[in-house]
């Protein structure tokens, strides 16, 4: 873990902004994600939720400011991993999707199959092991994406609206899996525009609108006593822009 990152903090962001061609899409913001917590990034479409997750994970480089996170990827482990709204499935079997990810992070060849089978069993996917991953349903693909991420043994998992394209039954399954991950001590930073899901899952809330951090607080406080007019309007179901 970097010296300047407190072990109780999984991610620390200071003065972070992001611009493309001179247009600032994420305005300067500061926040922390505490270790072992579930932080939900909430906000309407276009608020900058997905961008913020990508900046946090390191897929995008900030225009200014700093992102402090544990980038010390130990052999056979990835310190942080990410799930996307539309799961990216490689053109190979379910099992091979997991072994590929494990091989990419340096797991020895002799351990690949064992760890992949462990992950598939852990999430009830072993029966699909030999099926082409791309031919699974949307819900099964997202479950596989979670199993694949879990196999990497991350401390911090970024999730970009992982249930946005799923029906309620698949959403319930995914939320149960996320609850299991949280119970195992994995820190979750997840975006959603679904208020109900945020209420069910969040320990902490970051509320964004138009690329700005409007409110950051514990979930209970955010929902019961929002501090800003925009947050109150969003919770009330009004249109926020």
């Amino acid at each position: 873990m970097p010296d300047n990152l407190n072990p109780a903090v999984a991610l620390s962001v200071s003065g972070l902004s992001f611009a493309i061609s001179g247009t600032e899409l994420i305005h300067p913001m500061d926040f922390e994600v505490k270790s072992g917590r579930r932080l939900v990034v909430l906000g309407p479409n276009g608020a900058g939720k997905s961008l913020l997750l990508r900046l946090g994970h390191g897929l995008l480089q900030p225009s200014s400011g700093q992102v402090h996170r544990n980038d010390r990827h130990l052999p056979g482990r990835r310190a942080h991993a990410m799930l996307f709204q539309t799961p990216v499935m490689l053109r190979r079997s379910v099992l091979d999707n997991v072994t590929h990810a494990l091989a990419a992070i340096g797991v020895p060849a002799a351990q690949l199959r064992g760890r992949a089978v462990e992950a598939l069993n852990r999430f009830g996917l072993m029966g699909l092991a030999e099926r082409p991953a791309r031919l699974l349903s949307g819900g099964e693909q997202q479950r596989l994406a979670i199993a694949r991420a879990w196999a990497l043994r991350p401390d911090l998992l970024f999730l970009d609206e992982p249930t946005a394209a799923l029906d309620p039954s698949a959403t319930r399954l995914i939320e149960a899996m996320l609850a299991d991950l949280h119970a195992e001590g994995v820190t979750l930073m997840m975006s959603t525009h679904d208020l109900g899901q945020a209420r069910r899952l969040a320990d902490d809330i970051l509320f964004l609108a138009s690329g700005s951090l409007v409110e950051a607080s514990e979930a209970e406080r955010f929902f019961n006593d929002p501090q800003t007019a925009q947050a109150r309007a969003f919770i009330a179901g009004d249109l926020v822009w």
Partner: protein, 234 residues
């Protein structure tokens, strides 16, 4: 009617009785073309993939140039390699002119732009879908090339078959650098051209039937590959 049909019957007889000279021409053609396609694949697949995932100044110009080279006239390629490989040319010392090796080099040069261009397009599309995920597990563009080539294998096999089709049907380049020497550099296409001009329609027709058969087979394989790809890889 009988006169028109007799060359065809004679051609079929050549095929059925497995005429050694006839088989020699078919065998040499397949050997030269398959070797050329393999060479083009060895060079073109990684180069095409690298071009797909890399970003550098002049990349777009390079893509346009390679796409343009797909339509390169075979006779021009033949002429260039004739000049390079002829005794007074810069590569004359290797003594390759009028040998199967010269034909392999010429055909590989014709197939290479096809392999690079189709690989670049296929891998670029796949990379667009895979990039964020592969980066999220620590794979940069160069580390991702192996994954991309493997996952695109069925589409790339079709690209190679397209290159094989182009090489099989090609006549100009191999005629110039091979010289159409009987038993040494006589290929199906060059033999058809020669035998037709001599009036030996039976041999020309027989080779034509084999050539059309190979074309059909290549197309069937390409179709089958895409079906297998969807079934086994999604």
């Amino acid at each position: 009617m009988i006169d028109d049909a007799s060359p065809l019957i004679a051609a079929l007889a050549l095929i059925v009785r497995l005429d050694p000279a006839f088989l020699g021409i078919v065998g040499l053609s397949l050997r030269v073309t398959l070797t050329a396609v393999c060479l083009a694949a060895l060079i073109g697949l990684p180069l095409g993939a690298l071009l797909a995932v890399s970003r550098f100044r002049g990349r777009l110009a390079m893509i346009v140039a390679i796409n343009a080279l797909m339509g390169l006239p075979p006779v021009v390629v033949g002429l260039v390699f004739f000049l390079l490989l002829s005794r007074s040319g810069p590569l004359g010392g290797f003594g390759l002119l009028f040998t199967p090796s010269a034909m392999i080099i010429a055909q590989a040069s014709l197939v290479l732009p096809i392999v690079i261009a189709l690989t670049r397009q296929t891998i670029e599309d796949l990379w667009a879908g895979y990039r964020e995920y592969l980066q999220s597990i620590g794979m940069g563009p160069k580390e991702a090339i192996g994954t991309l080539l493997w996952d695109a294998r069925f589409s790339l096999a079709t690209a190679l078959l397209a290159g094989f089709g182009r090489a099989t049907a090609e006549v100009g380049a191999v005629l110039i650098v091979g010289g159409n020497i009987a038993g040494v550099t006589r290929m199906m296409t060059t033999a058809i051209a020669l035998e037709t001009s001599k009036g030996d329609l039976a041999l020309a027709l027989g080779l034509g039937i084999i050539l059309v058969g190979i074309t059909l087979l290549v197309n069937a394989l390409a179709f089958g590959m895409s079906r297998i790809g969807v079934r086994h890889a999604g």
